[in-house]
Symmetry: C2
Subunit: 299 residues, 2 copies
């Protein structure tokens, strides 16, 4: 495949990089999916080298999956949505990278997720998985809320639910709060006998270790545990407030994305729950659409 082929045979790669993994998919200009690769975390706030490595690895895996030659990367137009590049410092580092692509267009993972969810049209998204954040793009209006990361913010996310539960359980084990079924559930999760048994296993752990506790918190809440209910309600209330801030710019569509959407759904207020539409395409497809638009605008 030469560089002087007509534009419609140009291949694209859409890349979605976040705190737990990096997914890359190769598309033709006509939206045909040729191959996909998944590599490790790609959040520049937690390491630039790891980010570059994960982008390169997922790209090579996608190229192999598509049955193309490794050198194909030099002919790809890449669209990359990355967590953390709303911090200008990291945006510049990534843009200055000696990337392996023909051209690279960079934006936030929120932006590409929003483009993907609404198949290229304007709209709003809330992502709630390990972390939480909200984004809306309507005409010239762009809003980006939350996404401040663990343990500063990300209310209503899996890591936040886990952290609040551990905080409460440790206070309860010291006798400063009521022990409920949540206390037993977390002690059992960690196979621990006391507070220090939990602390030992969480020392130095990242947000994903806390997000693993979210299912236990949600299960306890569903069974009527008062502490778990209060934590889940506070999280859901924040997600609803986030949604209403996004609704203020009148997005025609609104989607929620991430592993916590389904278990949080019963806890959302009706005005928010009823506006949720399914995400039409995945974030890496959004990254592809973003790159194709940018490339064609420049061409």
């Amino acid at each position: 495949m030469g560089a002087c082929q007509p534009n419609n045979s140009q291949l694209y790669i859409g890349i979605d990089g976040g705190g737990s993994k990096c997914r890359a998919t190769i598309y033709t200009a006509e939206h045909q999916k040729l191959g996909t690769g998944v590599a490790g975390r790609a959040n520049p706030l937690h390491g630039l080298e790891q980010t570059f490595l994960s982008i390169t690895e997922s790209t090579q895996l996608a190229i192999a999956d598509a049955g193309l030659a490794p050198s194909t990367s030099q002919q790809l137009i890449a669209g990359i949505g990355l967590a953390g590049v709303n911090v200008s410092h990291y945006y510049q580092h990534i843009v200055n990278w000696q990337h392996p692509f023909k051209a690279m267009y960079l934006t936030t993972d929120l932006h590409t997720a929003c483009i993907g969810a609404h198949n290229g049209e304007d709209g709003a998204v809330i992502i709630t998985g390990t972390g939480s954040c909200g984004y809306a793009h309507v005409g010239d209006n762009t809003i980006c809320l939350g996404g401040h990361g663990f343990a500063l913010g990300d209310k209503g996310s899996g890591a936040w639910l886990g952290l609040k539960a551990v905080e409460h359980v440790l206070l309860a084990l010291d006798g400063f709060a009521c022990a409920t079924s949540l206390t037993e559930r977390l002690l059992s999760h960690f196979n621990a006998l006391d507070a220090m048994g939990i602390v030992e296993q969480l020392a130095g752990q990242s947000s994903s270790a806390y997000a693993k506790l979210a299912r236990s918190v949600l299960a306890c809440a569903q069974e009527g545990d008062a502490v778990a209910i209060s934590i889940v309600k506070e999280g859901a209330e924040y997600i609803c407030k986030l949604a209403r801030k996004l609704f203020a710019v009148n997005p025609s569509r609104f989607s929620m994305i991430g592993g916590l959407v389904e278990p949080l759904y019963p806890w959302l207020d009706e005005d928010v729950a009823k506006r949720i539409s399914p995400a039409l395409t995945p974030p890496e497809f959004g990254a592809f659409l973003f790159a194709r638009k940018q490339f064609n605008t420049k061409a």
Copy 2:
């Protein structure tokens, strides 16, 4: 100095290791201070190798300060109070260390701080600096509360005050909470224009970066800022509850130790504030007393 000298010429080294530094002081059996050395952090939860290095370095600095030969360490009886060794896993790792001393007696930094504060007698202590925790030793009773570390617990500590302030300010900058003078104060501390400017500088930072904000929170509270007052009151309330749990075992003395004691003092309830007695000797002296007692019990 030979190994067969009479016991009263035996030299001791008292070592206090924590999350920010490790201090070692050499004493004669008659309490005479011969030399002191300070090295980096020594908290096994954040790295065993660093802990061993800081203990060795502070020891060599103390030996040099005392004008003794480097090989003197092999003749010293060491008492070591370390953060994190209430976790049995870390206690075993340190005990199994091929240490450079004639003998080594290990306990928690809380225990040695308590022995030091009450000059070897029973009593209770609360430490509130970067972290917070409480400890009491009365007869056969020992209580150890809190000290679960950042960001799991340590309410009322410097890092906790800082974290709560940042959480609030980030919510306020997104429009989910009221902005007060605390918001301006933190933006100015970070020389930041917005939420991401703060997030960028705190990403991956340890508790000490948060503890640096405590003075700003306390200053805002003193100036009447409602948000700062609510945070400081919640912290002080926890410290008071911690104290009352310790009072339940009837300690004859109670001391508070750490950089946050003086600024938190005006926020403590009277029943707690009036029971505070000054710490009589430093934690490394407590570590020396601990080692001397253990050594003489064994001899």
